[in-house]
């Protein structure tokens, strides 16, 4: 069981990350705006999965199951990405 202190602390860290991502979006960082926003989103998701969904204290089978969902999603996204990025009609060489 995750302790109540950790749950509250996690909530506070998530809100700080939200403030950070909202603030970064108001500053023109050129091509870096999107990668920073997505990196913070990934960090927030990992915190929710580890501490709110209690994966941190779950058996290895749960770890594996949770990771597999995102692994299959990565296969889907990379496959489609490869297809789109190599289409000459969309991105002429």
């Amino acid at each position: 069981m995750i302790s109540r202190r950790v749950v509250i602390l996690n909530g506070i860290v998530l809100l700080i990350l939200l403030a950070a991502t909202a603030a970064f979006a108001r500053v023109d960082l050129g091509v870096w705006n999107t990668p920073i926003a997505m990196a913070i989103a990934v960090a927030k998701a990992v915190l929710v999965i580890l501490f709110f969904m209690e994966v941190k204290v779950s058996p290895k089978l749960i770890w594996l199951t949770a990771a597999m969902g995102f692994f299959w999603l990565a296969i889907l996204a990379l496959g489609v990405w490869t297809d789109v990025m190599t289409r000459v009609a969309i991105f002429p060489r």
Partner: protein, 213 residues
């Protein structure tokens, strides 16, 4: 049912609880791929039309999106606290946090529907009602299609989540959730947190990608 809690196919409560969680995680994988398909399509079109999607993003309300994200993050915390209370047999604490979760969830849906009403008035709904005549009109319409599809699906999940948490609140008040048997509330919590994670990614994808105006 042995001891009124453990079903006959399980050796003990721990094994049953683990099976419950595993089953929910398998269901959540299908949900990851359900939303993941839409996210993949969105990212491809954003790569193809970066400028148009950036312009379109400025038609969404940055503050409403940020407030809604805060509401959901806090609701996830209250849900985790409700689960924590149930695991320790603190019935009233658990009930209180479940109630907070429901209120925050309804707050999120309220803000979302207020936003939808605004988009309808501004003529940003794809199809016949689409009135936007600025640059990249077709691509902005595509962006708004993704927006309504993905946030709509998320709002549907939120509505189901609020119903599920309400049932958990009633079960808790009826004394059906105990220190020994609290699996339903843990499962409901997993679902609620997953819906929160979906929004964590929807928020930057739709509200933040435009950068400053």
């Amino acid at each position: 049912m042995r001891d009124g809690v453990v079903a006959h196919q399980f050796d003990d409560l721990e094994q049953q609880n683990e099976a419950d969680r595993l089953g929910m995680w398998v269901f959540l994988i299908t949900e990851v791929l359900f939303f993941g398909g839409m996210f993949t399509a969105y990212i491809e079109y954003r790569t193809i039309h970066p400028q148009a999607f950036s312009i379109a993003s400025h038609h969404l309300d940055y503050w409403m999106g940020t407030i809604n994200t805060a509401l959901l993050l806090v609701s996830s915390m209250t849900m985790a606290l409700a689960v924590h209370g149930a695991q320790r047999g603190k019935r009233w604490i658990s009930a209180l946090f479940l109630f907070c979760t429901i209120v925050l969830g309804l707050g999120f849906l309220g803000v979302k529907f207020w936003e939808y009403a605004k988009h309808i008035n501004e003529g940003l709904v794809p199809g016949r009602g689409f009135k936007y005549m600025g640059p990249y009109a077709r691509e902005v319409e595509l962006f708004m299609s993704f927006y309504f599809l993905m946030t709509g699906m998320h709002a549907l999940h939120m509505t189901i989540g609020v119903c599920v948490v309400t049932v958990m609140l009633l079960l808790t008040l009826a004394g059906k959730i105990t220190r020994v048997y609290h699996s339903p509330i843990v499962i409901a919590g997993l679902y609620w947190h997953f819906v929160d994670i979906v929004w964590i990614f929807l928020y930057p994808c739709f509200y933040l990608i435009g950068g400053p105006k």
